[in-house]
Symmetry: C2
Subunit: 256 residues, 2 copies
């Protein structure tokens, strides 16, 4: 091709933001692992892996899911988020990160495995002002507060404490939250964390989580009117509960 001056190829890392939904607490969850080795040993981070010769990046992202939760799940949706290439994003080495998002239809138990010291589901929450955070017991991580990529990496070189995620993962998470929020009105794939079908209230719960508002702040009747073109009715819930049974919907279109 153009120019043979490839001095050295950077490492290609696949980073996957794995989402699920806890039906006990009605809260969104994100999978974080505690890194075993440098750089950022002992830091919490998004699950990562190196790409292998015979697999595509999409396949590598799926492999990450399998490594952390086992092979039990049969259907989940993975989509590309963006690629992060800033020179300083990994200390002392050059590493590209192809970031993906996976939406799991349930919240399976985790195993650290493959060199990670620990793995946990962190509870996702947001403020009305647009800040996002992940919490597990006393551990609490904020996504980046910078508005632009440029301003984020400008201050990135400084040493970061243990209250930060490894690498630029706080920025990657911010980009992910932003993307999901943007797509809520035309392609809310995040709803796949609710499984194959869902009630309008469950859908509103997910929406409310991203806006940092209570579910009841979103009117069910109006929500149906403005979003029903995205959903397809597939029956009525059979789950025994008090009150009128809710109708079930699924996403009308999963494709890009």
């Amino acid at each position: 091709m153009d120019n043979p001056a490839i001095l050295e190829q950077p490492y290609i890392t696949i980073t996957n933001i794995i989402w699920s939904f806890d039906r006990e607490t009605d809260q969104l969850q994100v999978l974080l692992v505690k890194r075993a080795s440098n750089p950022y040993a002992d830091y919490w981070a998004l699950p990562e892996t190196f790409m292998r010769a015979q697999e595509s990046a999409d396949e590598a992202a799926l492999r990450l899911v399998k490594e952390k939760i086992g092979l039990t799940l049969s259907n989940y949706h993975t989509e590309q988020l963006a690629t992060f290439t800033h020179n300083d994003r990994a200390p002392g080495e050059r590493a590209l990160s192809l970031a993906y998002m996976t939406f799991l239809p349930e919240m399976p138990p985790l195993k650290a495995g493959y060199g990670a010291l620990d793995a946990h589901w962190f509870t996702f929450s947001a403020t009305e002002a647009g800040q996002f955070s992940l919490t597990y017991r006393q551990l609490h991580f904020m996504t980046a507060t910078s508005h632009s990529q440029h301003s984020y990496y400008k201050n990135f070189k400084i040493a970061r404490g243990r209250d930060y995620l490894a690498f630029d993962h706080d920025w990657i998470l911010k980009v992910a939250c932003q993307r999901i929020k943007n797509k809520l009105n035309y392609q809310p794939n995040i709803l796949l964390v609710l499984g194959h079908d869902f009630t309008l209230k469950e859908a509103r719960t997910v929406y409310a989580a991203f806006f940092g508002i209570p579910v009841k702040a979103i009117d069910n009747s109006n929500f149906k009117k403005t979003h029903q073109h995205l959903f397809k009715e597939v029956g009525t819930t059979t789950r025994r509960q008090i009150g009128r049974p809710a109708k079930l919907y699924k996403l009308a279109q999963i494709e890009e």
Copy 2:
């Protein structure tokens, strides 16, 4: 990190879709080059380069612009599109493509250079049905017609004639057109091909090009009402022309 089983790293290619606007014909332009070397020697393709050790992918994308048009332009906007990683996208080798888009504020003359046999601005056009194509003299290339990534690559292995672009560049272009079209209503960065400021009519010309409809099909008054929150008034045009002088606008927000 997780696993040392990296057999071999794939090539990392930067692909850049460079857009401009021809004020003579009021048509959008895309830069294509004729490849000098294999794979796909003699095929027309999007400009590509390998990433170098000391530059970020963003910088490599900008370098591509400089190589093709020289160093004359001072301001242009580049943004990431997506990363293409399918196993079969390059014959006999493994190559990732980090795809970018650059919007040039004018339409400078081109030089092939850096191993390309030829380089030209191709006129972009679309149909109302959502098909896109690039034309230069008797050369005519369609973007992919597949609706999904999966269906595109399913039929990709078959030998492709010279009426196709190299690699999966027809698919990359399709994704680009789709992305630009989606962003017209909230972040129309494509308007940067019009330069720092533009009239509403010029903006409508660009919109109409992506919808495959004539400019006059978009009402100027209504367009202003629905889009003025994206624009900021910066004066009145000084270009001598018949009729009432148009007001000038610029994009209110360039940032992601």
